[in-house]
Amino acid sequence: MAIFGKRFGFGLVLAVAALTTLTALPARAELDIQEITTPGGIDLWLVENHSIPFVALELRFKGGASLDSAEKNGASYLMMGLLEEGAGALDSRGFARAVESIAASFSYKIYDDSTAISAQFLTENRDAAVALLRDSIINPRFDPAAIERVRAQVISSLQSDEKDPDEIAGRTLDQLIYGDHPYGRQKEGTLETVRALTRDDLVAAHQGALTRDRMSVAAVGDITAEELSALVDGLLGDLPATGPALAGPVEPVLTEGITIVDFETPQSVALFAQPGIDRDDPDFFAAYVLNVTLGGGGFESRLMTEVREKRGLTYGVYSYLVDKDQADLWMGSVASANDRIAQAIDVIRDEWVKMRDIGVTAQELQDAKTYLTGAYPLRFDGNGPIANIMVGMQMQGLGVDYIDTRNDRVNAVTQDDVNRVAKRLLDPSQMRFVVVGQPEGLAQ
């Protein structure tokens, strides 16, 4: 039975201090990352763990949906959806049956800046699994019947998105901020572009999306370095060497105000955004720590305390840093009944201003740091999660030593840093809200 009612938020921070000032950090997981260059010249990271007889393999390719032109918007998304719909000698059903019969699991996903292929397979039939995975990556068939079937699924979900307030809010905000840049479009495409995509478009998207020059590889599990090297060379060696030009930079257009999209539904959904900060900026960690206190998903953030705990205006309110390859945003979300959303937005704006002008307290900073540093080792708790973290680090250009220094960087952030960054970055005059619903007492 579906679990229901998971509560998102809670908290009121300034509780009794005795329990909140623990300083000892939990022990770190022993993680022996091997950096390997295969005989075929592919760089990859491996953590060997032979306690469970399977391997989690993660592949990432820079590029993603933003490689699509405006006319071919949605080509990469449809292409990724077709990789498992027939490959090599097998048609769609044959491929699915073959994967099921060896209990492997493959997933193919696409984001604005990257494509992601994840695989888990058992030691007992590893070769058969890798052969299937290879066919799907190197030799997808793009059979006409499969194209039409999956296209119909994409169109169905695009039609549903048009009546989903969360989707409407996201699209509206992307369009306002990024305009004609690929980030301003939806990765799934539009009804018009998806209907017009041809098999040639999908083949072209496939050639450009999965190339060796933009690839990151990580594996965790029951495999040795030698075995993995041979496996990866066989799996990926025949991919194209290079891909088409990546999307260029974009200056997000952000102005103060509220954009209302009229939609008949009882609860208004709001997204908001202001300029963010690049991961390579020296102030990034200070901003990251600041966001934990502001609205970073815990039950005790200021937004949660003020909007939910004190006033009962919402079930969840959050803020988060968005670090795309070509743009940086500081975003957030909230949802409140149509007659209460105006008040929720007022409170969020007030908190934004208050944080900019006054900053965090020493206790808040301490709590944010102990949370972040304590939570970090807890992420490394399984083959799948560890492979995911490692491939993400490679995509961000971080070295393996990052894991050992990351908490030091968090701890190095001072109250002055955070409050200086709050003044530098938090900017209500560039904060745009998109509200979807029938909000009362809210002016555009």
């Binding site: 229901f4 908290g11 007889p53 059903r93 099921e100 019969s101 304590g374 970090y376």
Partner: protein, 455 residues
Amino acid sequence: MTLIAAFPRIARKFAILTLGIGFGIGGATAQTNEQVTAFSLDNGMQVVVVEDHRAPVVVHMVWYRAGSADEQPGTSGVAHLLEHLLFKATDTLESGELSATVAANGGRDNAFTSFDYTGYYQRVAADRLELMMRMESDRMVNIRLTEDDILTERDVVIEERNSRTENNPSSLFREQMRAAQFLNHRYGVPVIGWRHEMESLELGDAMAYYDRFYAPNNATLVVAGDVDPENVRALAEKYYGAIPANPDLGVRARPYEPRQMTERRMIMRDARVAQPYVSRSYLAPERNPGDQKAAAALVMLSEVLGGSTTSVMAEKLQFDEQIAVYTGAFYSGLSLDPSTFGLFIVPSAGVSLQEAEDAMDAVVAEFIETGVDADQLKRIKMQLRASQIYARDDVNAIGNRYGQALSQGLTVEDVQAWPDVLQAVTEEDIIQAARDVFVLKHSVTGWLMADGEAG
């Protein structure tokens, strides 16, 4: 016919809940697979420890054998509202202090409510387990609520209902389907509550529920991760063992469904629907202690019919012919009382809901005549075997499996026997299960459509 509201096995369930069948009472330790250790405290609290020493992490959970289906009529949503209120003050913790303390220790906490259970958990570094137990055991019996807490939190859960249900026509549709399926059992009332009843929930309603159900003899402690079972036992005895059992807990008996005498049909229209579809549910038996065979056959039936792109419904309705964009079957045997088996079909453009429903029914009827494809069954069993290997990578999920089962009338032995019970299901069992469950007069059929749309 196995399903309809057959009369409840109250006595048996009562025995399990109060005596802990499957557990050594008060101390004997059962050493089991998956590095699972189970025992009970003297006050009746069940404990399950799942070991995984690969990372210094622990998940600490307390599951109460009480959910929305245990509420008093007229107070729908109170189980879930109380779940929220358990993060307020206790005798020794200020409002919000528990979550703040977990966060300041690098952890995250949350809670969940379902029809049959309510659960609380924290995920933290393994050396913080004692702190978690100190706080969790405290709020089992020591919450101190104010009128103000109720008023604010009531608004929060109403906004939660807005987010989950009111803003989503599919959610409203599912709610109506369940209400039509269950005339008398509280599985027909949404976990989050009917809005009009949520608006009038009071402090007394929450405290009555709390005083009755929040007690060690109505709870299961699950600790999963980098821990030693003996250490867990010592800590559990110190913190939970000190709380007396509630002698007034009473029998966990709910009103059962009357005999369903006719199929029920509904058409729901909502302007926010872009993709119409047909949903069908049938009353179905659930997993019972020592008796999981019927449920296992239904799980396999749902896999064979609608579990993947190679299942019967997808083959016939999406591949052989393009009648549907999506199809599926769903069933979970984890339920205290009789449950439902569901089918759905999302028609392709140009296919009416009537045509889609007729095609779905024809496929099911044909399947019962043709029988199960042996290769398909073999693939499904292979995947189930492999899932036991993959599952070991996620100790959290293993802990959840025990918590859920033990809160829904099953024992540790049932959880551990389940994979073998599934493997033992034959092609004939599956067809028999289909014949038993697909009885139209025990069903509800719903059409979800846009405003003004023709069927």
